[in-house]
C-alpha cells in the first residue's frame, strides 16, 4: 500500500510523516542536518509517483504524440491526452478542450494577453491588476500596453496585504477590458476572495484571468464554481515536473481567439493561399509539446486528488497558522503580510540581518528558505523593503520543521548580537 493510501485509510487528517516517504529527496541531509524544505512557493519536491510516471514514459512507450500510426505513438498520445483529462478533473473544468498545455503560469498569461486581450483593446482602454502580482502578471500587461496604448491600473492593498471586493470594483471603469489577478499571493500568502471578485467584474462585462500558481498546491480549485474565464497554474508548484503548466480557458472564448504561436499541430490545413487553424486546445499548442512533463503532471494531479485537496487545505491551514504565530514571536521580526486568510507563504524581515544573511544562516542548519524580491518588486516597494525572507510550506512539512525554523531564527538573532 502506498503512503498516500495508508494516510487516507488512517482516516481524518493528513499524516505528513507517511506522505514524506513518497518524496525521496526529503531523506537528504544538508550541511549535516536533515533537510527542512521551506521553499515550496518557488517550487515543490516530487513524489515517487511523478518520477516514476516520467521514467515509465521514457522507458516503455515514449514517442511523439498525435499524427502517429505506430503503437508507441498511440500509447504516448493516450497518456498525454489522459493527463489532460486528469487536469480537467483537477480544475473541474466542463471540457478537456478547455485545458491548454503550456510551459507554466508565465506562458499562460502571455498567451491570454496576446491572443485574447490584445485584439480587443484600443488606446486608452484599461487593464486592471493588483499590487500583489508576480512579475509574470505585470510585465505581459505592460508590454501589451506598450503595443496598444492601453493603460494599466493597479488595485491597492492594505498594510495587512489584502484588498476588498470594493477596491477592485473601484478600479473597474467603463474602459476596463480585462482583469488579471492572483488567487494566492506568493509573498504575503493572502488568499483573495476570487469568486466574489469574478462576480463583480463579470457583472460589469469584464473578463477575468486568475493566476492560480500559488492556489493550486494548497486548496481545491473549481473553475466552474469560481466562474472564471481563464485560470493559470504551473506543474512544478503542485509537485509535478517543470516546463509544463496549464491554461484553463472557457471554450467559447478560446474558440474566438487567434493563435499564440504558429507551427505544427495547431493547424487544420496549411497552404500558401491561407491556413486554417485547429480547434482549441490544439490551436494554442504549436510544436511538439512537453510530453513526459504532461504525463508527470497527470501523475501529480492524481497524487493530490488521492490525498484530497480538502484534506491538504485543512492540514496546511493549521500548519501555516502555527508557523506565522511562532515566527511572529521571534524578537525583532516583522511579518510582511498578515492576511486573515493565508495559504503557503510567510514572509518576514529581521533587524540587522538582511534576508540573504538569514537564508545563509538557515541553510547551514539544513533549512531551505528563499530571500529576495520574489519577482514582486512593486510589492517590496509597497512595504518599503528591498527584499524579504520567505518560508513557504507544503503538504509534507511538519510542526517539527516549523520549530526548527524558529530555532534557526533565534540563531540568526544571536549571531547578529541581539537578545533573543
Amino acid at each position: 500500500m502506498s503512503a498516500v493510501q495508508e494516510s487516507v485509510v488512517a482516516g481524518g487528517g493528513l499524516n505528513p510523516e507517511l506522505l514524506r516517504r513518497d518524496f525521496p529527496v526529503l531523506e537528504r541531509e544538508v550541511h549535516g542536518s536533515p533537510l527542512v524544505y521551506l521553499d515550496n512557493a518557488a517550487s515543490t519536491q516530487k513524489p515517487q509517483a511523478v518520477i516514476d510516471a516520467e521514467l515509465d514514459c521514457y522507458r516503455r512507450y515514449y514517442a511523439n504524440v498525435h499524427r502517429g500510426v505506430h503503437t508507441l505513438s498511440q500509447e504516448s498520445t493516450a497518456a498525454f491526452e489522459g493527463a489532460r483529462g486528469r487536469v480537467r478533473r483537477f480544475l473541474n473544468a466542463p471540457s478537456e478542450q478547455e485545458i491548454v498545455f503550456v510551459r507554466g503560469t508565465t506562458e499562460a498569461i502571455n498567451l491570454v494577453a496576446h491572443s485574447f486581450v490584445e485584439p480587443r483593446v484600443k488606446p486608452g482602454d484599461e487593464i486592471v491588476v493588483t499590487h500583489m502580482e508576480h512579475h509574470s502578471n505585470i510585465v505581459p500587461w505592460q508590454l501589451l500596453c506598450e503595443r496598444t496604448g492601453a493603460v494599466l491600473r493597479v488595485v491597492p492593498i492594505s498594510d495587512a496585504g489584502e484588498f476588498e471586493v470594493a477596491d477592485v470594483e473601484a478600479a473597474l471603469t467603463a474602459r476596463t477590458r480585462f482583469l488579471s489577478l492572483v488567487h494566492v499571493s506568493n509573498v504575503l500568502g493572502t488568499v483573495n476572495p476570487v469568486r466574489e471578485i469574478v462576480a463583480a467584474a463579470k457583472s460589469r462585462g469584464v473578463p477575468v484571468l486568475v493566476d492560480g500558481a500559488q492556489a493550486t498546491p494548497h486548496m481545491p480549485v473549481d473553475v466552474q464554481e469560481l466562474d472564471v474565464d481563464f485560470y493559470a497554474f504551473s506543474g512544478h508548484k503542485i509537485y509535478g515536473p517543470t516546463g509544463i503548466g496549464v491554461l484553463y480557458g472557457r471554450y467559447d472564448l478560446l474558440a474566438e481567439m487567434v493563435p499564440y504561436q504558429g507551427g505544427g499541430d495547431m493547424i487544420r490545413t496549411v497552404s500558401f493561399a491561407g491556413t486554417e487553424y485547429a480547434d482549441p486546445p490544439a490551436r494554442f499548442e504549436a510544436g511538439t509539446p512537453n510530453i513526459a512533463g504532461a504525463i508527470g503532471l497527470g501523475a501529480a494531479v492524481d497524487y493530490l486528488l488521492a490525498i484530497g485537496l480538502e484534506r491538504i487545505a485543512a492540514y496546511e491551514a493549521e500548519l501555516v497558522a502555527y508557523a506565522a504565530e511562532a515566527m511572529a514571536e521571534v524578537p525583532g521580526i516583522r511579518l510582511i503580510g498578515t492576511p486573515r486568510r493565508r495559504a503557503g507563504a510567510v514572509s518576514f524581515v529581521m533587524p540587522e540581518a538582511h534576508p540573504h544573511d538569514i537564508a545563509t544562516i538557515l541553510d547551514q542548519q539544513g533549512i531551505a528558505i528563499r530571500a529576495g524580491h520574489h519577482c514582486t518588486e512593486p510589492l517590496m516597494e509597497r512595504y518599503g523593503v528591498p527584499a524579504t525572507a520567505r518560508a513557504s510550506f507544503g503538504l509534507y512539512n511538519t510542526r517539527d520543521e516549523v520549530d526548527a525554523l524558529v530555532a534557526g531564527l533565534h540563531k540568526v538573532n544571536r549571531l547578529f548580537g541581539l537578545d533573543t
Binding site: 540573504h356 544573511d357 528591498p386
Partner: protein, 140 residues
C-alpha cells in the same frame, strides 16, 4: 570556529552596523552604481581622485551584511591608492573567493575578514559587488 560564525565574525558585523563613509560625496570626480539583480543589493559609490590617486571615497546602498561590510572595508582601503593597485588587490580577493588560491597564499590586508565568504558560493556576488562597482567607477 564554525564556518557560519567565521563568516559573520565580529568585525564584519561591526562594519555592517556602522558602515564607514556611508554618505554622498559631493563634489566627486567618479561615481558608479552597482546592482545585484539576483538579490536586489544596491550600492552607490562616490570617488574623488587627485590625478591617479583616490583622495576620498564614500558609498550608500542597501544590502546584506556581507555586501555592506565589503563596501565599508573597502572605504578603509582605497584612500591614497591608485586604480592599478586596487585592481590587483581585487584580483587576489577573487582568487581566494573562487578557490583558485588559498587564503594563506595571498595578502588580502584589510579584506582578510571576508576571506570566509569562499565557503558560501551563493554569497560571492555580495562580497564582490562593491569592488566591481569601484572598478567600473574608475574606468569612467
Amino acid at each position: 570556529m564554525a564556518e557560519i560564525d567565521a563568516l559573520y565574525q565580529a568585525l564584519v558585523l561591526e562594519h555592517n552596523r556602522n558602515p564607514r563613509r556611508y554618505e554622498v560625496l559631493e563634489p566627486c570626480t567618479h561615481r558608479a552604481s552597482g546592482r545585484n539583480p539576483v538579490c536586489g543589493d544596491r550600492v552607490e559609490l562616490y570617488l574623488r581622485l587627485d590625478g591617479a590617486v583616490i583622495e576620498e571615497a564614500a558609498f550608500q546602498g542597501e544590502g546584506c551584511a556581507i555586501s555592506t561590510a565589503s563596501a565599508s572595508l573597502m572605504m578603509e582601503i582605497v584612500a591614497g591608492r591608485e586604480a592599478a593597485a586596487l585592481r590587483e588587490l581585487f584580483a587576489d580577493f577573487e582568487d581566494v573567493l573562487r578557490g583558485r588560491r588559498g587564503p594563506d597564499e595571498v595578502d588580502l590586508g584589510g579584506l582578510a575578514p571576508l576571506a570566509n565568504v569562499r565557503g558560501f558560493p551563493g554569497r560571492l556576488g555580495c562580497a564582490t559587488l562593491p569592488w566591481e562597482t569601484l572598478l567600473r567607477a574608475l574606468e569612467a
